[in-house]
Amino acid sequence: MKKTRALAMVTAALMMGAVAAPSSAQDKQQFFPLLTFRTGPYAPSGTPWANGFVDYFKLVNAKGGINGVRVLWEECETGYATDRGVECYERMKDKNGGATLFQTMSTGITFALTERGAVDGVPILTPGYGLSESADGEVFKWSFPIAGTHWASADTQIQYVGAKLGGMDKLKGKKITLLYHDSPYGKEAIPVLTERSKQHGFEFAAIPVSHPGLDQKAAWLQIRQTRPDYVLLWGWGVMNSTALKEAQSTRYPRNQIVGVWPSGSDSDVKGVAGAEGYSAVLILPGPGFGSKIAKDVLSTLHAKGEGSGPKDEVGSALYMRGLMNAMFAVEGVRRAQEKFGKGQVMTAAQARWGYENLNIDLKRLQELGIDDVMRPVATTCKDHMGPSWARAYTWKGSAWEVSSDWLQADPKVLNPLIKASADKYLADKKWSRRAAQDCQS
């Protein structure tokens, strides 16, 4: 009897909770669902990233919202698994008046959601990652790899190597090896680097490391045998620190290893003795401990105990990435409000227009307090990526230090690749490009 009563109480509690869950409808709210991964093998990368997101939303609300519209967000834990990501998407897309957009935070989830987003009419934002060919806005109407894709990362990375050697013509005859995480993310680097190797005549080899990346002995043995001039590291999570440790045991010089943004966060190098000299090319933004926005977060949120993560994380590379990603989400809505009515809640379709016509200039960046690590971004109907800027940072043992000028992915290299890939996508699906008048909508 006791048992049944307890059971009944729990059931009742659950039912009441289910009823009480949708909070009372407040004033205007714009809903941003978050697909975060704070658990699983990639949690060290996912946690600061997610905290950046949440802190930015808190900051926007503290400053009066988007022209008075409050930001509402909800996290759904994916653990970086594609099927959980799909479930989260389905769960949240119609919640709270409909999702404004989805930021997948994972290449695998991006692939699964690209088409669903297009069918359901929800923008999919993947700033700095995602499906590289989705930069072609005429084909991927609902996908926005704003400010960079993995292809842009690869291109800026090779430009940095060229700059280190003293000019792109010095790449000729050099040996460059890509050490990559064996997933769609890691493979994205290959087409661009192959193209570049043809152009500049360097010898290119690619060595895969399988998930999660702890076993790299064979890969580094291969590197020791071939002695490449540069190793490009495309790791994620625990693979990065492992690679740096293996490099030491094979005595490969750290200053000849160049990472990309998923390989260039503090968690990758902190605690790895002798990682000094390792550099990473980070597509917007880099670490910004001195940025005005980081100080803003500390004074507005952390001072009141409302910060999402530990204090010393504010300003780290992945945290700044979270801030920046959330900033794009909010700025797109702000832009859409200019067209569809200030102070109104934007639908997903209206927000899509905002993301397609983003124009974040230097003045706006200064207002946001993120101008020291960001460059202006603008998107168009044709180009959903916009200019993709990156900068190299070198680990000095306790902090990352800027070690290059701004690098921009060369459209001459990327555009043909994007177009070819996007056309292939269209051909596979038997679709056609968007008509020009569709851009007005």
Partner: protein
């Protein structure tokens, strides 16, 4: 009382050998199937259909496949995820490489390729048993992971190694909406469940069970172990392969080998163990448990938390979900080691004799 079979006399072999010998069972199952086809699409919302019911159906199908091999034939396999991958990738290849390939045929081709792979990796079962066989089938998992990541042909040379399928159409029926997808999967599941149920009741099914219960004795009474084991591998792989195709085509739409990783293999094995080894019905119970319980926990724990005034962060939630889920598995296995299907039949028995204890 509620469930009496008194007076239901079987006057022919036909009636004695049908799947559900008790009239109430027959009607109940028919009602469930009709409800699944008609009632569920009317009642369920889009989220339930797309995020819960469709994956549940597809994984039930895969669990039926695993159950034939593990539950009926007693051959432990940890390569089920790989066979799903074979079904998905080969179905994809059939679809994109052959112009005008019908969807259902593509799925069946995927299943057929999975059959070949499954039989190949089933060969060690003729020599090794039990845990050793499990390790041998693990090879299939690693081999397929490697193959679909490395060999460009299988992914139609997609630069990222991820493939996608869309515009599913069959017989003039375009499968876009969640309702279509659900019904399409349901059709497959019903047909294959019926086929599987009939197979395990037939001579070949009895051979599998004889091999499972004692292979030496089975051989003595004239069952060829090679034939029985390999046919179990073949049938099971075919069903798993078709389920893999559905998972890729219908549920995910775009996938990479990670969608069919070793975790998937374990998940399927757990479904069969929790649902009930050697029970088609159990496959459904197991799939429901593994697919739905984590999602339910994930959705109800936060509201339970707010009720007592705690807000649970998503990370803590994910950990609690894992812990509770693990505890539930252990609890179920202690309470009923024969799986949920056994609980079901105990319940049925109780209903039959109610209100008397025996």
């Amino acid at each position: 009382m509620f469930y009496r079979e008194n007076g239901q006399l079987k006057t022919s072999y036909r009636t004695d050998q049908q799947i559900f010998t008790i009239t109430q069972d027959r009607w109940a199952v028919l009602a469930v199937v009709v409800f699944a086809f008609v009632g569920v699409p009317l009642l369920a919302d889009e989220y339930t259909l797309r995020a819960i019911l469709t994956p549940f159906l597809i994984l039930s199908l895969a669990a039926i496949g695993v159950n034939i091999l593990v539950g009926y034939c007693g051959q432990i396999s940890m390569g089920s995820g790989a066979l799903m991958a074979v079904g998905a990738y080969m179905g994809y290849n059939a679809l994109v490489r052959v112009d005008g390939m019908p969807l259902i045929v593509a799925l069946l081709i995927g299943g057929f390729c999975a059959t070949l792979v499954g039989m190949f990796f089933g060969i060690p079962s003729l020599r090794v048993k039990g845990l050793y066989l499990a390790v041998a089938t693990l090879a299939a998992q690693f081999f397929c992971d490697w193959m679909f990541l490395r060999i460009g042909w299988f992914t139609n040379n997609a630069p990222s190694g991820s493939v996608s399928v869309s515009n599913l159409r069959t017989l003039g029926w375009s499968i876009d909406s969640p309702y279509d997808k659900y019904l399409f999967c349901l059709g497959f599941v019903v047909v294959f469940a019926l086929l599987a149920k009939n197979l395990v009741r037939s001579a070949i099914g009895r051979e599998w069970m004889a091999i499972r219960d004692m292979d030496v004795a089975a051989e003595v009474i004239g069952i060829r172990p090679m034939y029985a084991k390999l046919s179990a591998f073949a049938v099971s792989s075919f069903i798993i392969g078709v389920a893999g195709g559905l998972w890729g085509f219908v549920h995910l739409g775009a996938w990479e080998p990670a969608a069919f990783s070793i975790d998937r293999s374990f998940q399927l094995l757990f479904m069969v163990i929790i649902g009930g080894l050697g029970s088609i019905m159990g496959s459904f119970f197991g799939a429901a448990f593994i697919v739905m319980v984590p999602i339910l926990l994930n959705q109800f724990l936060p509201s339970l938390g707010t009720l007592v005034g705690i807000s649970i962060s998503t990370a803590v939630l994910a950990h609690i979900e894992f812990m509770l889920f693990g505890a539930l598995i252990v609890w179920f296995l202690i309470v009923e080691p024969h799986g949920l299907a056994r609980l079901w039949s105990i319940g049925k028995q109780k209903l039959r004799i109610w209100p008397f204890p025996h």
